[in-house]
Amino acid sequence: MTLLEVRGVGKRFADQVVLEDVSFDVDDGEIVAIIGASGSGKSTLLSLLTGALHPDSGEIRFAGAPLPQRRRPFAYMPQRDALLPWRRVVENAAIGLEVQGVSRREARRRARELLEPFGLAGTEFRYPRQLSGGMRQRVSFLRAVVQEQPILLLDEPFGALDAITRDDLQRWLLEMWRDSGWTIVCITHDIREAVRLADRVLVLPRTPGALAGEVAVSREIPRGTGMLTDPRVPPLEAELHALLRSAG
C-alpha cells in the first residue's frame, strides 16, 4: 500500500534552486534510501516532509490525503544526533512525546521501556557526553521510534561514525526493522549503506531535477557479512555509481 506520495516537489533558497520536480512513492513497511552528492538537497527534502520548510511547488500526500500542516505522521532522526547535553538519556529520548503533549512522566515511562531492546539498559541517567558515539545514535533513534509515527525519516543516521561502529549500527538497525513494521526513509551519501539498508534506492541528481533513477535491492540479498560476497551486490553498486555520476 502506498503510504507517502511526493509529486513534483520543488524548493529554492533565494536565488538558488535546490530541488526541482522530485517525485517518488513510499510503500507501507518499506525502507527507501535516498542518495545524492553533498548539497544535492537531501536534507532539504526531509525538511519539506517534516514541515520545517514549505515546498515552492508540488504536493506531498500521506495515505491518500494532503499532509496536515501540523502533527505530521513522521518521526525524524537528524543528521547528527542533536541530543540535548543537559538532558539525561531517558529525558532526551522522551522529548518528542513531551512536545506532542504527553505528560513528562508518561513520556519517560514509554521511553524507558525501549531502553532495553535498544541496547541502552543502564544508561538511563547518563548525560549524552557520557555515551559513546554509537550509543548516542541509538538514543537518537530511540527518540524517533518512541513517537510511534507511521514513517521514520533518517538523515544520514550513521554519517558521523567511524566505519566499524557504523557497520555495527547498520546491522542493529536491520534487526530492529525486521522485528517491527516500520516504514523508513533514509538519506545517505554512502552507496554501500544505501544498498545494505534499503528495499529501493532513489538517486537525487547533482543539479536540481527529477530523480536520476531508482534501484531496487532484493530482500533476498543477505544484509550481514554475507552481503560482502554476494554477487548480486556489485552490479547494483556500479549502477548507483553510474547514476550518481551521470546526474552530475
Partner: protein, 278 residues
C-alpha cells in the same frame, strides 16, 4: 572573558598534584608580590601615607574590623540586590531580543554605546536623580553588570544546536517551545560565564555609587579613610571589597556546579574523538 581561565583554576578533573599546583603556584606568586611590597614599604622608600606595608594594612584592618564590617554590609546588600535586578531584567531583555531580530539590531548597539559612558561622571547624576538610598547603588550595579549579562545570554541562545531546534520544530513544537526546551537551557554555560564576568564588576559598581553619595558602605568608608590620610585603611577596605567579590565569584562557581552538572562532565571518549574530525 573568564572562560579560558576557568579551564585553569576551576577545571574539572585533573590529578591531585595538578590541582595542588594550580593552588600553590598563584599562592606563591601572591606571597612574592606581598613580600616585594613589604620590602619597599619597610625600606622606607616611600612614606606610609603613600604606601603602607601590607602588614600594616592587615593590622589596621583588623583593628577596625567592626567598622569595616558595618560598611561592608550595605555594599553587599546593594551588590546582591543590583545584581539580582540586573540578572532578571537581562533574562527578560535577552529573551525578547532573541525573539525579535529588529529589536535586537535596534537595541544592541545602544547597549554597546552605554558601555562607553564614563560612570564616574554619571554616578553623581544618578545619585542626584535617585537620592542616597539603596536605589542609586542598585541601579549602578545593575548598569555595569547588565550588558555582559545580556550579551552573554544572547550568545548562549545562539549557541543552541540548530539541528536540535530543527528537530523540535519537526515534532511540531512552537517557537516558544523550542526556546524553552532548547535555546534557554543551551545558554546555561554562557549564562554562568557571563555571571562570573559580571560579578567581578558588581561590587566595584556599588562602591562607585557610594563615592557619589551614600550614607554607608565601603565606598563611604574608603573616602573617609582617605580624608583622614589613613591609606592603610583605604587599602584594608579595598581588600575587603576584593574579598567580597571573590566570595560572590565563588558562590557563582558553586551555583554553576549545582545547577548545571552536565557542564562538568568530560566529553565521552568517542565523541571527543569524533569532535576533532570536522
Amino acid at each position: 572573558m573568564m572562560r579560558s581561565v576557568r579551564r585553569g583554576l576551576f577545571a574539572t578533573g585533573g590529578s591531585w598534584s595538578e590541582r595542588l599546583a594550580l593552588i600553590a603556584a598563584p599562592t606563591i606568586a601572591f606571597l612574592l608580590l606581598l613580600a616585594a611590597w613589604q620590602g619597599v614599604a619597610v625600606a622606607g622608600l616611600v612614606p606610609a601615607e603613600m604606601l603602607p606595608a601590607p602588614t600594616r594594612v592587615v593590622s589596621a584592618g583588623a583593628a577596625e574590623h567592626t567598622a569595616l564590617l558595618r560598611h561592608a554590609i550595605p555594599t553587599l546588600i546593594a551588590t546582591v540586590a543590583g545584581f539580582a535586578l540586573s540578572v532578571s531584567v537581562a533574562w527578560v531583555t535577552a529573551t525578547v531580543l532573541d525573539f525579535s531580530r529588529i529589536l535586537r539590531s535596534a537595541l544592541l548597539p545602544l547597549l554597546i554605546v552605554s558601555q562607553t559612558l564614563p560612570l564616574i561622571a554619571l554616578a553623581p547624576l544618578v545619585v542626584l536623580w535617585f537620592g542616597f538610598g539603596l536605589l542609586p547603588k542598585i541601579l549602578l550595579v545593575a548598569f555595569v553588570t547588565f550588558f555582559p549579562m545580556v550579551v552573554g545570554l544572547l550568545r548562549g541562545f545562539a549557541e543552541a544546536d540548530p539541528e536540535a531546534e530543527r528537530l523540535l520544530a519537526s515534532m511540531g513544537a512552537s517557537r516558544a517551545t523550542v526556546f524553552r526546551l532548547v535555546r534557554l537551557p543551551a545558554s546555561t554555560a554562557s549564562f554562568f560565564s557571563a555571571l562570573r564576568v559580571s560579578i567581578t564588576y558588581a561590587v566595584v559598581g556599588a562602591i562607585f555609587a557610594e563615592y557619589a553619595g551614600a550614607v554607608a558602605g565601603l565606598g563611604v568608608y574608603m573616602q573617609s579613610a582617605k580624608n583622614v590620610f589613613r591609606t592603610d585603611l583605604v587599602l584594608a577596605a579595598v581588600g575587603v571589597s576584593t574579598l567580597l567579590t571573590l566570595c560572590l565569584f565563588g558562590i557563582v562557581v558553586l551555583a554553576e556546579r549545582v545547577a548545571a552538572p552536565w557542564l562538568r562532565i568530560e566529553q565521552g571518549r568517542d565523541r571527543t574523538h569524533r569532535g576533532t574530525r570536522s
